[in-house]
Subunit: 223 residues, 2 copies
DNA sequence: GACAAAAGTGACCGCAAAGTCATTTATACC
DNA sequence: GGTATAAATGACTTTGCGGTCACTTTTGTC
């Protein structure tokens, strides 16, 4: 009997299906298993950080055996990497790339888009991902780099462009934000640090902080 | 021969020195050894974080044997705790508690004191201590708590008081800073996050960021 | 039902590092 | 110099966990 995988001479005439026959597997189920591992790992990493998460626990949580995880990820680090990347991509998807309306001021545009998404930062574990990246970033420069490239850099660019537009139109009266686009986001980072690391018992309202910063930058007189 | 430690009957007449006699030890040298262990541990923890630092390496760096460390600290965590506490106390010592001169404006006072010390934040490894507290804070709530109590809380209180004074004197025209004293420090936390975790290749100038924030808060018109 | 191939299992291995302890060395007092 | 006590040592024990692998189960095809 010929081995079926290699086209044997006797079989040459028959039209072998061009697709590779797969036995003992269905791509959908494989994908689901993989996903359940990633989900379990995400939860564990969020709870305990990289060093304190064990593969065994992840496996238990995902309802699979330890060994299986190594069929999907060559090492613990690869699993971590996959988890973080997925979350960054997820965060990316729902980032507004709304366009500014023809007559809309930069300030109004920011209030309509950024303010809204920053008010939601603490739901959807967006802040928690930032927390993990911060916590493990020193140990995994590659992950910090991905985060920087896919989250921070685009945000900064957006802010800078808007700042320049506002400067040109006279909406902003100085170059502060153009020079230091970080200034707008500063309350967000500060809020994450305070709420996630330093003072969980007395969380600050990141959205409110951010709005106040916006007021100041656009020289709004406060109530 | 009576045991010298317990007062034996035969010795009752002799004036036993009231101080406990210590043999084979000099308190000074013991203190020095302890300090050299803490110093070595500080360096190691700063370089590699808690999980990646080994007691053996600390011992080598301190020039002592591994076992000795356990005579001074019951466990690795105790050592870590001691290190961080010492540094927080050190940071505390050189925190200016300068008084505001009779006719000095709040803004001038802040520029004379806080701005100066924040410009120095990256020297003297002040930012690195913050980094370690942030990195390990999730795993060691006690340390985050100490940091909060001894560093953040006093700073916030100072800012709040000054904001209220400035509000009263008319130097500030709104309650923003009184309500959100975090706003003043936000660029500092943001700067630490950016420089130490997320974008080491493109560090922001924390001092400059902070000064710009001060300008905005006091409604300075920029150059 | 027979088969092949992939999915899935969990006992096991190896190693690194925390923590121990019997022993040796240093020091202060007589 | 003798001795009691504390400091210091480092070989050893213990432990936890990442990673492996020989084996079993499931699944799709003929």
């Amino acid at each position: 009997m010929p081995k079926s995988t290699q086209s044997a001479v006797t079989n040459l005439v028959r039209n072998d299906p061009p697709v590779i026959r797969r036995r003992g597997a269905s791509p959908e189920k494989t994908a689901m298993t993989r996903q359940s591992i990633v989900d379990a790992a995400l939860a564990e990493f969020l709870e305990k950080g990289f060093a304190n998460t064990t593969i065994e626990t992840v496996a238990k949580r995902a309802g699979v055996a330890k060994g299986l995880i190594y069929r999907y990820f060559i090492a613990k680090e690869a699993l971590f990497s996959a988890v973080v990347q997925q979350e960054i991509v997820n965060a990316h998807i729902d980032t507004d790339d709304a366009k500014r309306a023809p007559n809309e001021s930069v300030e109004d545009f920011l209030r309509r888009t950024l303010v809204v998404s920053i008010h939601q930062i603490e739901k959807k574990s967006r802040a928690d991902i930032a927390r993990v990246v911060i916590t493990e970033g020193a140990r995994f420069p590659a992950i910090a780099e991905i985060y920087r490239r896919d989250v921070i850099e685009p945000l900064l660019l957006k802010v800078k462009r808007l700042a320049m537009a506002a400067r040109k139109s006279g909406e902003l009266k100085d170059d502060r934000l153009v020079k230091n686009p970080h200034l707008l986001l500063a309350p967000v980072w500060a809020g994450i640090v305070i709420n996630k690391f330093l003072d969980r018992a007395h969380p600050v309202n990141i959205g409110e902080l951010f709005e106040t910063q916006l007021d100041m930058i656009f020289s709004k007189v406060a109530a």
